[in-house]
Amino acid sequence: MIKKIWIIFLRDFKVNRRDFLALYILVIPIIFAFGINLLTPSINDTSINLALIEGENEKQVTYLEDFAKVEVFKNVKDIEDRVAKRDNIIGILPDGDDYYILNQGNEVKEVVDYAKILLTFYEQDVQIANSNAEIIDFGRIVPPLKKMLVNIIILMISVMGGMLIALNIVEEKVDRTIRAIHLSPVSRKTFILGKSIMGIFLPIYGTIALVLITGFRDINFFQMLVFVLVSTILSLLVGFIQGLTNDDVINAAANIKILFLPVAAVIVAIEILSDKWQVFFYWIPFYWAYKGNDAILSQTATWSQILLYSVIVLVLSGVVYAYLAPKIRKGLE
């Protein structure tokens, strides 16, 4: 049976190579990884943005650059035009001997308060050199935002793997090849599994490529491997449910939208919601996958934790599969 699955996969691979699909699968995780590498440094450094007049008070500009992103403009009018734009930037402008803060009027209070404090620090001549504080850091270079983005993309890639499986199956259904398989020595299950290997390969390769390129090289790779396999279970689940229960691509495409909802909900729940809300998301297998990957990427995961999460994903996926089994069986016919 395994040989047959392999032959079907090789045939699929040949077809897909002609379509550049295999190339896509290889390239997409790399694009995402480089995208994350490009994005995170600038997002991580989000202090406030200030607008000052060029040459009016060089000392002030130099001082404020230590604490905020500073842009300089020729005159008050230019600053007013800049502040009036859609992003948040606060002007600091001279008024006689004093300075005043110029805002657009729609900024959140914290942004304006931050600008007021920085201006006060400058006026009170608060200097870093006179600091009564020292900073000790743990030498971690990967910001939480990067970890979050990598985790989200790992989840998205396993969903994408699932979607590939689903579309592959739906297309075969539309072409009526699944029925034709009846006449061949290959069983339908073998055929479907063979068609799924492309989608299984994506999360395995994608996760490894993503993690390596984005610089998570010190994580426990054995733990990651266990969780990559867990991701493939999710891909298979998504693929089988979507592929075998939908009769045409339009329904499969529309259903994918519904699929994105629990995925998005899980990310929001873990990243934003407080502990008391978490219990409402326990039933979603993606919840445990995201949590597990988060622990692995943070290097805080213990083996018992990883095994527990894996078992939960397996059991939940099993329950969903068992519930939908009659429909899936029907879809195979």
């Binding site: 699909l21 699968i25 230590d66 604490f67 905020a68 009027g105 971690r140 297309e171 529309a254 994918i256």
Partner: protein
């Protein structure tokens, strides 16, 4: 007239399929989530771990300051699991922050290492009996943030606060109305629910028709290719308009500028569908087009990061079409929103949409029946 008939026919056909109802179901689901699960104001509290290496009297002073703002006016003894060990700390919670007071420097360092709070701090006295602050950070914090920590306690904080409260703030306009957090989510939901999915769905429609041979059959009718494509775009527009209004009306009531919102929905939907058509014209089936569509969709989602982090807005993100779309939707639901901006954005989507549509039409004329 022929276009109208094709459109009505497409609409009838799609109303028989699942897609139409899935869209409506999704809209209702999103509405329920927004109404019952998304609070009007998000409260995200910063977490600080502190150890006071000070004489009791000074420690007491700090604790009293924290207690003054504490929600219930008292501390709570909690145990935190860190690296398999339970560490006992005193917990205080104010409107803005959560404080965990450790009983030793070692425990503070371990907790800061494993729990990764915003900051861990040891407050002690230096040789001259002045307060001294040791900040434990993870290492990925920006230099600007580190500089703030370094100067924060240099001067008397009460003096800084008093001076800062006296700073003069002038606003360009006092006429701005703010959205609460729940309302603020709507523009990005409208963008993704309505416009972005159009990209995927229109491609799926085209490939489905290709596979079933409908397109070849179309070649012997009196209609032209652009009418066929336009009728597909029409169906996508109708579903996205219905689903968007299902979400917006119950939450925003009469506040939004609905005609303007409708205009933006139509023009942006047209633009996205035309983009979907262009992508679809390069592939033979959805499987092949899938990778390209997926990457374009993810790229189009990026401006929502900038939308939720207003101080991060690099120039390149403003070039992505969903940036003006999200901002345009925001202006339509704001009281006294910027009408000119939305009109300009709509015009932009219309013009680019027409160009893409004409291009797709030319390509499809050559390749549709292939």
């Amino acid at each position: 007239m022929k276009l109208w008939h094709s459109f009505i026919k497409e609409l009838k056909l799609s109303s028989r399929g699942f897609y139409f109802y899935i869209e409506i179901f999704m809209a209702v689901l999103l509405l329920v989530i927004l109404l019952f699960a998304v609070p009007e104001e998000f409260v995200s509290k910063e977490t600080e771990y502190i150890y006071f290496d000070l004489p009791d009297k000074l420690t007491q002073g700090y604790i009293e300051d924290i207690l003054e703002d504490d929600i219930d006016g008292k501390s709570e003894n909690v145990e935190i699991k860190s690296n398999g060990v339970k560490i006992s700390v005193e917990y205080y919670e104010t409107d803005k922050k959560k404080y965990y007071i450790a009983d030793s420097k070692e425990n503070l360092i371990q907790l800061t290492k494993t729990k990764r709070p915003l900051v861990g701090a040891v407050i002690s006295l230096d040789k001259s009996n002045n307060n001294h602050f040791e900040y434990y950070l993870q290492g990925y914090e920006s230099d600007r943030l580190k500089n703030i920590y370094l100067v924060f306690h240099n001067k008397d904080l009460n003096l800084i606060k008093e001076e800062s409260d006296n700073q003069v703030v002038r606003s360009l306009s006092l006429d701005y109305h703010m959205l609460n957090d729940r309302e603020n989510v709507i523009p990005s939901i409208l963008t993704f629910n309505g416009s972005l999915m159009g990209l995927f769905i229109i491609a799926a429609y085209i490939f489905l028709d290709k596979q079933e041979g409908i397109i070849k059959a179309y070649a012997i009718t009196a209609s032209s290719v652009w009418q066929y494509l336009m009728s597909k775009v029409g169906v996508i527009l109708v579903t996205s308009i219905i689903s968007c209004f299902i979400i917006v009306v119950p939450i925003m009531g009469l506040q939004p500028n609905y005609p303007l919102m409708l205009l933006l929905l139509i023009t942006s939907g047209f633009f996205v569908s035309a983009l979907g058509l262009v992508i679809a014209s390069y592939y033979r089936n959805l499987m092949q087009a899938f990778g390209a569509i997926y990457v374009v969709m993810i790229a189009l989602m990026l401006p929502s990061i900038a939308y939720f982090i207003p101080s991060w807005e690099p120039l390149w993100i403003k070039v992505i079409p969903t940036y003006p779309l999200i901002q345009g939707f925001k202006e339509t639901i704001l009281e006294n929103g910027d009408t000119t901006y939305t009109l300009l954005a709509s015009l932009g989507f219309l013009v680019v949409g027409v160009v893409l549509f004409l291009f797709a039409n030319r390509r499809f004329k050559k390749t549709l029946a292939a």
